[in-house]
């Protein structure tokens, strides 16, 4: 979708409010422009000693003022409402998009960039919609009405004004186009700044412990100073618009005035051929000229906001246009009896092969462990099973149905997954645990907390389960892992995936947690990745991966007997 189409789509959702506010805007402009006209009549009545007419016009004028005031309030209020409501929709849409794009595309983006989209870009667009819409509606009506008035006074000068005035708009859009590149550069630097500060703020302990503060500041400043330089250029080039418009308009005013005076000088000869001119007419014409150029001034004064908003919106639009490449299958799946990799190949980037011609079947009720040195492709297998990534070649089959034909949500419903990189969101510990099952009963929660050993530290926290934690602060890694485990235990899934899920938990607790899992997963499938081989000793099948290939399979006893790679890894544990 083009930016234009999309913005119209959002505005279109507020059709009623939009129409009402356009009407209100029009009524306001009319009641505003009518005031001098009515006043003229009031004065004429007075001169003609018509006191009835005098008072009648005064009352009409009063009525129009009241009407204009009310209508103007609602006009402004509605325009603001339209802007805010459209922005809410856009924000929600971008948020949903973040949740629906394939992880492959997601991983390729800067996190800071997405955040920028949700915050700064949205604010820019909201300011833009409000300013531009308001100015445009009132401006257009003012222009139309003034044109009519000017023609009624003197058509030659009217033509002159109409031809000349758009010059200011031409001029400002010329400058705006010229500015575009500076603004683009500025926006790029702004997003670099925000990426840089995000990286620092998230790793600030590390920065401090590395004694890197000075250099970090230097780095930040190298972008910061560039932004200063580009910012000055951008702001300065944008600031040509307003004064230039005023200069053009003043020049037009002078040209019209001088021509009027010249027409006056030749008045008797001209009047017959062209148009009548008088001092009174000239002065009222000049006031119309000012009135006519005013909306052009205002329009050009919001050109900067418009340009910024346009640029931000194009970023939003580009993101919303990104392909939702995960084409979901339709088949609902339940009770997964088998997970099968069929001659599958995968790599993250074309130049580095990772997994080649991989085949494996995992049967229901089994505990399968995947071991191997780091970088062997263990986590990648998980990414593929969960369909975070798609295989480049070959297939993954669930109950002999190709993963591509299965509905994503029905597939993922079967799984409970704990990753090494824990994810804790801002909220209480209880909210974090109940994340995947908000309607869990207190008993269920109590059980999950016990089994996951969250109860070992929860009592030492000031507010227990209701302690507020956040993504970046508080709690140790091990505690976070326990919370993530409780989360999965609570939903009691058909298949559990544990990817180094207990790597930061002490061995005593780990053992107990692992026992709980074994009890919970009887008759169910578990897939476990762990470096501490003690946790996987009980596995039915152990798959030893190296460089993307299975080099050994079997259970603990058979692999130990074999005295191969597994044996070597295992025996190193206590040496």
């Amino acid at each position: 979708m083009t930016s234009k189409k999309r913005i119209l789509h959002y505005l279109g959702l507020e059709k009623t409010l939009l129409i009402v506010s356009v009407i209100f805007g029009m009524v306001f402009v009319i009641s505003q422009m009518a005031q001098p006209f009515i006043l003229g009549h009031t004065l004429d009545y007075a001169r003609a000693n018509n006191s009835q007419g005098f008072y009648v016009t005064l009352v009409i004028s009063l009525g129009l003022s009241v009407l204009g005031t009310i209508v103007d309030y609602f006009f402004e209020y509605f325009v603001g409402k339209i802007a805010q409501r459209s922005i809410k929709r856009m924000r929600d849409d971008v948020f949903n998009k973040i949740n629906s794009i394939p992880l492959k595309e997601f991983d390729a983006r800067f996190n800071g960039d997405l955040l920028q989209l949700e915050i700064r870009d949205m604010e820019n667009v909201s300011t833009g919609i409000f300013a531009v819409f308001k100015t445009l509606v009132q401006g257009v009506f003012t222009i139309v009405i003034t044109i009519v008035m000017m023609f009624m006074v003197n058509w030659i000068l009217a033509v002159g004004v109409i031809v000349l005035t758009p010059l200011s708009v031409l001029m400002s859009s010329f400058i705006a186009r010229f500015n575009h590149k500076y603004f683009k550069k500025q926006a790029q630097l702004q997003s670099q700044i925000s990426a840089c500060s995000l990286e620092t703020i998230e790793n600030i302990d590390l920065v401090q412990s590395m004694n890197y503060e000075d250099k970090s500041l230097k780095n930040f400043n190298s972008i910061n100073y560039k932004l200063k330089k580009e910012g000055i250029l951008a702001q300065f080039s944008a600031s040509w618009i307003n004064p230039s418009t005023r200069l053009v308009n003043n020049t037009i005013y002078i040209l019209i005035g001088v021509s009027g005076i010249i027409m006056l000088a030749y008045e008797p000869k001209l009047a017959l051929v062209l148009a009548v001119m008088s001092i009174g007419k000239l002065s009222s014409f000049l006031s119309y000229t000012t009135q006519y150029s005013k909306p052009f001034n205002e329009i050009s004064s919001v050109v900067t906001e418009f340009e910024t908003a346009k640029f931000s919106f194009s970023r939003i639009n580009e993101f919303l246009n990104a392909d939702n490449a995960v084409d979901e299958g339709k088949t609902e799946i339940d009770n997964i009896e088998s997970i099968k990799f069929d001659d599958m190949s995968f790599s993250y980037s074309e130049d580095r092969k990772l997994i080649e011609n991989f085949s494996l079947e995992i049967k229901k009720g089994n505990k399968v462990a995947i071991v191997g040195p780091t970088g062997a492709g263990k986590t990648t297998l998980i990414n593929l099973i969960m369909r975070f990534y798609e295989p480049n070649d070959g297939k993954i089959l669930f109950n002999n149905i190709s993963s591509k034909d299965i509905s994503l949500s029905s597939l993922r419903k079967q799984f409970g997954m704990v990753l090494q990189d824990t994810w804790i969101f801002s909220g209480t510990i209880l909210e974090n645990i109940k994340y995947a099952k908000p309607d869990a009963t207190d008993e269920e929660v109590a059980l999950a907390i016990k089994e996951s050993h969250v109860d070992s530290f929860i009592n030492s926290l000031p507010d227990g389960l209701n302690t507020v934690i956040s993504g970046k602060e508080g709690l140790s890694e091990g505690q976070r892992q326990m919370i993530s485990i409780a989360r999965v235990m609570l939903i009691n899934p058909e298949i559990v995936i544990l990817d180094e899920a207990t790597s930061n938990i002490d061995t005593r607790s780990e053992k107990l947690i692992s026992n709980s899992f074994d009890a919970m997963m009887v008759e169910k499938t578990s897939i476990v990745i762990a470096h501490r081989l003690s946790t996987i000793k009980t596995a039915d099948t152990i798959i030893v991966l190296k460089d993307g290939n299975i080099i050994e399979t079997g259970n603990h006893e058979s692999l130990m007997k074999k005295q191969g790679f597994y044996y070597e890894m295992y025996s190193s544990q206590y040496k």
Partner: protein
């Protein structure tokens, strides 16, 4: 020394005053243009400046005549063209001055913005963990990005428009006063009322801006939570619930914004109503003269009213232009206060000024009866009465369950926090008095969370030791068992590192972090559970390399007995209490918990 946003403003005081003043020149010229036009018309009517009844017009007319007569046969045409040229020249001069102001505005705004950003960034880096937790990282991000931007905008508008609008109002008042002093007085009374109402409205809305800003913080926190949890959210199928709760957050923001808007929308209609009513009032007041005066009186009063209307329109225009400008300035003020909250916070941990250069041997780190609580004045200690001392080049092992207080020890040695009770000594000097940057240079920490920075492997290494040679880096890679995979990259050390090191696996990242700490060549090396993502073979090899490094003091925090059993001293922690302290063999005899841990690990094996 800059300590508040105001200090940055003060630094740019000259630009902040001269800038708006230069704009005045354009305003004066702008206000003069209609009068010149009137003079040209009057000249045309009366033929001789001396005959013009109005004094201003007379003077301006003579001024036009000063330039001589160029078109002999048509004096009117001559006057019109000369007058036109004069106005045009004035316009151009005004334009030039305005552009100068615009440049000053752009320059000053960006300078102030950049400087505030710099101060704030430096301040954030200087704050301790505890200090930062007061604000939360979402807030720090907003301040650093949107709020400095807000300040920038405020300065921009301040210089560009803050003088222009009042000057137009003032000028119009003066001219209306000259035309008819009674009406002028009415206008003078009108303006303060207009401004008072505007300020009342803006005062109301500025109060609410703080809460809007907070609602925006919520959106920011929710978004970044969601971005970092992309995998988990998908795995749990929680996309719909996520968007619902995000929808509530944006809804709250929307409601607050619309509420403020309800108030702000009052301004323009009010100005309109006030202007209209004042006009009507003037006409109503002079109705006697208008209806019953002589013809001459009526003409005079009518033309005056028309002229006054024009000035009223000017005031109207300027007054309506003012609010958005003021709004931006108010927003800037709110941002300024929020930034100042961070800037004025005294860091709870500051560097001492002592160093111990003569230290060669002896106790490098000692804890004397140290207790620590994360909450102030709380008796609920995360670590209780810890005493130990570690000799230079010795090895300390710390073992204990999750939440036992292991990481707290590290936090105290790194001075992320200060002890609540007791004292920590580094090289015999209280750590609070020790030079912080030297301390942190000498201590190398390998975290649980292995974080890399965007750049290259080399740039990550150079961060800790700018003088590291390629040989040293290669050596560190080998010691960290990372050489094998790094060497596979064609660009070797210059291999790219994505944001957060996302292009490496967990184990690769951990090994790179270990290598990075080794490149630093620290005197004290702290390993905080830093091999958890490594397979045991690799872990063992790294341990072997570390053991070979004889001139480093090591503190190893781990849950594996195997990792720490050879330490000179081992501290066993349980729920914040020291339950055992001694060598491996001693502990096996004296410490039940240690024995238990050892046995579970061995038995399982």
């Amino acid at each position: 020394m800059i300590r508040k946003v105001g200090d940055v403003y003060r630094k740019h005081f000259v630009a902040l005053t001269i800038g708006p003043l230069l704009k005045l020149i354009e305003v004066v010229f702008d206000l003069l243009i209609p009068l010149f036009m009137k003079a040209i018309i009057d000249l045309n009517q009366y033929g001789d400046p001396a005959l013009i009844p109005n004094q201003f017009s007379q003077k301006l007319g003579s001024f036009i005549r000063l330039f001589g007569t160029w078109i002999q046969d048509n004096q009117s045409l001559n006057d019109a063209i000369i007058g036109g040229v004069i106005i045009l020249v004035m316009g151009v001069i005004g334009f030039a001055f305005t552009m100068l102001t615009q440049y000053i505005a752009a320059r000053t705004a960006m300078h102030v913005g950049t400087e505030v950003r710099e101060c704030l960034y430096a301040k954030i880096l200087a704050l301790s963990k505890k200090d930062r937790e007061q604000f939360g990282s979402g807030r720090l991000m907003t301040s650093l990005n949107s709020e400095t931007y807000q300040i920038q905008q405020a300065i921009l508008f301040f210089i560009r428009l803050v003088i222009r609008c009042p000057a137009i109002i003032l000028g119009s008042l003066v001219f209306s006063f000259i035309l008819d002093w009674k009406i002028g007085l009415a206008f003078i009374a009108l303006v303060p009322v207009l401004l008072l109402v505007i300020f009342l409205v803006l005062g109301q809305s500025s109060k609410k801006y703080t809460s809007i800003q907070e609602a925006l913080d919520d959106i920011s926190t929710k978004s970044s939570d969601d971005i970092s949890g992309a995998r988990v959210i998908r795995a749990f199928n929680r996309q719909n619930e996520e968007s619902e709760s995000f929808g509530q957050t944006t809804e709250a923001y929307q409601k607050k914004s619309i509420n403020v808007h309800k108030i702000n929308s009052l301004i323009n209609p009010f100005v309109f109503a006030a202007t209209a009513l004042i006009t009507l009032l003037i006409v109503f007041l002079v109705r006697e003269t208008l209806l019953n005066g002589t013809d001459a009186e009526k003409v005079v009063i009518s033309s005056t009213i028309i002229a006054e209307m024009a000035y009223l329109a000017q005031i109207f225009f300027a007054v309506t232009q003012l609010p958005p400008v003021l709004l931006d300035i108010i927003k800037g003020g709110v941002s300024r206060r929020r930034i100042d909250q961070i800037l004025t916070l005294t860091p709870s941990i500051t560097s001492g000024n002592k160093v111990n250069d003569s230290f060669t041997d002896g106790e490098i780190i000692s804890f004397k009866d140290v207790s620590f609580s994360y909450k102030e004045n709380s008796k609920n200690y995360a670590l209780n009465n810890l005493t130990f001392s570690l000799k230079k080049n010795g090895t300390l092992g710390v073992i204990g369950g999750t939440g036992s207080g292991k990481s707290t020890i590290i936090n105290l040695i790194e001075r992320f926090y200060d002890a609540s009770k007791g004292e920590v000594l580094y090289k015999g000097i209280n750590i609070k008095d020790y030079d912080l940057s030297i301390l942190r240079t000498e201590v190398g920490l390998i975290n649980q969370k292995s974080r890399l920075f965007k750049g290259t492997i080399r740039s990550n290494f150079l961060m800790v030791n700018p003088n590291a040679t390629d040989e040293e880096m290669t050596k560190a890679l080998k010691q960290a068992e990372a050489y094998e995979f790094v060497n596979k990259y064609e660009d070797y050390l210059d291999h790219e590192v994505n944001e957060g090191g996302s292009n490496f696996s967990g184990g690769q990242r951990q090994r790179l972090c270990i290598a990075r700490a080794l490149v630093k060549k620290p005197e004290v090396l702290i390993l905080d559970d830093s091999t958890s993502a490594l397979d045991l073979l690799t872990d063992k090899n790294i341990r072997k390399h570390l053991k070979e490094m004889k001139d480093v003091t090591k503190i190893i925090v781990s849950q594996r007995v195997a990792t720490i059993q050879e330490a000179d001293e081992i501290i066993v922690l349980d729920k914040g209490f020291v339950v055992g302290q001694g060598t491996h063999n001693e502990l096996l005899k004296t410490c039940e918990i240690y024995k238990e841990i050892y046995e579970t690990q061995i038995k399982k094996g």
